[in-house]
Amino acid sequence: MEQLKQQLKQQIIDALNLEEMQPADIVDDAPLFGEGLGLDSIDSLELIMMLDKNYGIKFSDKAAAKQAFASVNALAQYVFDNRTK
């Protein structure tokens, strides 16, 4: 799981072009949206497409996406539970 979290952090940085950030700058349990990383809906689109491409994850509803994007911890757990590749 720890390896998956580090991998996800790097993929978030790459997908969103957060060039000034390192994986270590992203706190595991901090919210990705709002007061945490400060991402918005456009970023969520990029993340949704990244998860689809890398892990074959397709969100069936908004609640599932909201739950997954709560933090890196939540995202890693969601990917672990739902990945198809």
Partner: protein, 294 residues
């Protein structure tokens, strides 16, 4: 958004809108044109935000002298009033005549085997397409739901009959997930990306000789999905008569490999095409707020 700002809603109370629909079941909208002219004058006099927006368009973006700009402003409002009456007439069951001017491109769009993104604008009367044209495959359109129940219900009922489905704009921006799902499933997604509502991320482009802001989300989605992007305009040509124009904006391939840069590239194509349409139908600019100063 403060109370004094433009809200993007269809005018009139729920009761007035219902009465209008009932009237149009009995009489042709043209009989209401004189009454509409009175309403238009009142609207110009007492709605300064809207007036300022249209004045700027005619005085500075169309470069008209003050007297000429005032005349064109009045014509612009009249044209808008007629387009709105046509909308209520459609809700009352009156048929609209729609002619496709770019038939080959239209055919290509509706028969395209994969998903596509259709970009419209608040010029002409795009909503009429949803009432008059039977869609050959599911089309999903992003709609602001801040209107009255009368407007929302009538719009939704007629849209559904023609195979057009509504995606409501959500305050938290979560509609972008639905937009992605629609494209991912191979459908047509239709958006009018010429209005910035709320504090969303924007792109700036020179539009009619002055910088204007456009919502970035739609353009980012279109380029990220790598699907064909088409411009669609439904322009009013007479009493209940409309012309459809379709133009390809992108085949899904871009010169840059960065989504932000690609979105700017797509925006450039979109504004150039919209400018061209406004040259043909200058009085059908229906963004009734200070568009360039937002």
């Amino acid at each position: 958004m403060t109370d004094k700002q433009w809200t993007g809603r269809t005018g009139g109370t729920r009761r007035m809108q219902r009465i209008l629909i009932a009237i149009f079941r009995k009489i042709d909208p043209v009989w209401l044109y004189p009454l509409m002219a009175v309403w238009v004058v009142g609207y110009i006099l007492f709605r300064p935000i809207e007036r300022r927006g249209i004045w700027h368009y005619w005085r500075y973006r169309q470069g008209k002298q003050p007297l000429s700009a005032a005349w064109h402003l009045l014509c612009n409002y009249m044209e808008f009033g007629k387009a709105i009456l046509d909308r209520f007439a459609a809700w009352a069951g009156r048929p609209m005549q729609v002619v496709v001017r770019t038939k080959d491109l239209w055919q290509e769009m509706v028969e395209h085997p994969t998903a596509s993104v259709v970009l419209g604008a608040h010029i002409g009367n795009m909503e009429i397409a949803g009432y008059a044209i039977q869609m050959p495959k599911p089309v999903y359109t992003l709609v602001y739901m801040g209107d009255t129940d009368t407007v929302n219900t009538n719009r939704q009922t007629l849209f559904e009959r023609k195979g057009l489905h509504i995606i409501p704009i959500e305050k938290d921006g979560s509609h972008i997930l639905t937009m992605h799902q629609v494209v991912d499933e191979g459908n047509i997604l239709s958006v009018q990306p010429d209005r910035v509502l709320g504090g969303i991320r924007t792109l700036t482009a020179d539009f009619m000789g002055e910088d204007a802001r456009f919502p970035e989300g739609t353009f980012r989605l279109a380029v990220a999905e790598q699907v064909p992007v088409i411009a669609l305009y439904i322009m009013r040509e007479g009493h209940g008569q409309y012309a459809v124009y379709v133009y390809p904006l992108s085949d899904g391939q871009y010169t840059s490999d960065n989504h932000h840069e690609q979105a700017k590239e797509l925006l450039q194509s979109y504004v150039r095409q919209t400018e061209q349409m406004l040259r043909l139908y200058p009085h059908q600019w229906f963004n009734f707020y200070p568009f360039w100063q937002q």
